[in-house]
Amino acid sequence: MNLIELIKQPWPWYIAGPLIGLTVPALLILGNKSFGISSSLRHICAACMPANIPFFKYDWRKEAWNLFFVAGILLGGFIAAHLLANPEPIMVHPDLVASLAQYGITDYSNLVPVQLINWEALTTPRGFVMMVVGGFLVGFGTRYAGGCTSGHSIMGLSTLQWPSLIATICFMIGGFTMVNVILPYILAL
């Protein structure tokens, strides 16, 4: 198997995790930047619709690096999906396949479940909750918590911040509650 074929395979955690961890020193050494992604959403608000809200009245241009960073993530996604794509369907746990099949989710061709998340679904109750309500909770919750998985769980834990540990534990409690308790009702909509 040549290198390109190897790269096209799904990467194991012990390759991906350390590479993501290296983002922390990379951003620090390139320009003393703290790794964090959800702040970009705040900068977009500050740039596009500050509406005289104090929380958005700051010079977002000084944080433009963060917007370049997330634009890079988008481009990286494009490159990975178009030049380094794995042609095989995504492999998931058989128990998950069985439980999702009850809700008519059978398409594993994409990293995003196309039967749940698509433009036509946006006007259905299930699609609305999956995209609009879910997205709102992500944006509201991360800013309320002062960071997301990158800012708290990776940057915060790497610098041994105990508030970030609390935030990370709460992220996990929220996620476990949603997936195991609430989501079955949403998927049944």
């Binding site: 020193p25 380094l84 998931v92 998950l96 433009w119 989501l183």
Partner: protein
């Protein structure tokens, strides 16, 4: 940095001196004293591209992987986050130990996060959203890049959520 802050923005920043506001976020705290051209930011875009490729190739941006994580059906995400934190922590330790500077020779600074109730309430709300969308903010951008354009709706809603938080911020418990 794109340009010198003009008088208006400097004044705006001066009005927004509430350091607590800034220290709640990983932003506006590390300010370079060196003037950079806009294209200096392209180096962060390169890091973002590499980061986005890892996100997609390791299927971290997959909704299915997040479901497996929260159903304890796979070790994958725990391995990713755990090893990322280990590498990050060792890197930060080395930077502090050897007093490593930025490529421009500036000192690297760290800012302690202060605890507030938002980390609990906001953390729980984000966790609920994460379980639905299967994506934290970073993967939203990567998913759109892979061609899942409907995720633009999720991202716009996340931006709206951030905006509503900013609007209600003074009324929320912290």
């Amino acid at each position: 940095m794109l340009q010198n802050p003009d008088a208006t923005t400097e004044q705006q920043v001066a009005e927004n001196t509430d350091f607590e506001v800034r220290s709640l976020d990983a932003m506006c705290v590390n300010e370079s004293r060196i003037e950079h051209k806009w294209y200096d930011n392209l180096k962060y875009m390169v890091v973002g591209i590499l980061f986005g490729i890892v996100f997609v190739k390791a299927e971290i941006v997959s909704w299915f992987r997040i479901q497996e994580m929260f159903k304890l059906q796979s070790f994958h995400m725990y391995g990713v986050i755990g090893s990322a934190v280990m590498v990050g922590a060792i890197s930060v330790w080395l930077i502090k130990k050897f007093n490593i500077k930025t490529i421009d020779g500036e000192p690297i600074t760290f800012h302690p996060k202060t605890f507030n109730k938002g980390q609990i309430i906001g953390g729980l709300l984000f966790g609920l959203g994460w379980g639905i969308t299967g994506a934290c903010p970073g993967p939203l951008f990567a998913q759109i890049g892979t061609g899942a354009t409907a995720v633009i709706a999720t991202l716009l809603s996340a931006i709206a959520g951030t905006w509503v938080y900013g609007l209600l911020r003074e009324k929320l418990p912290h």
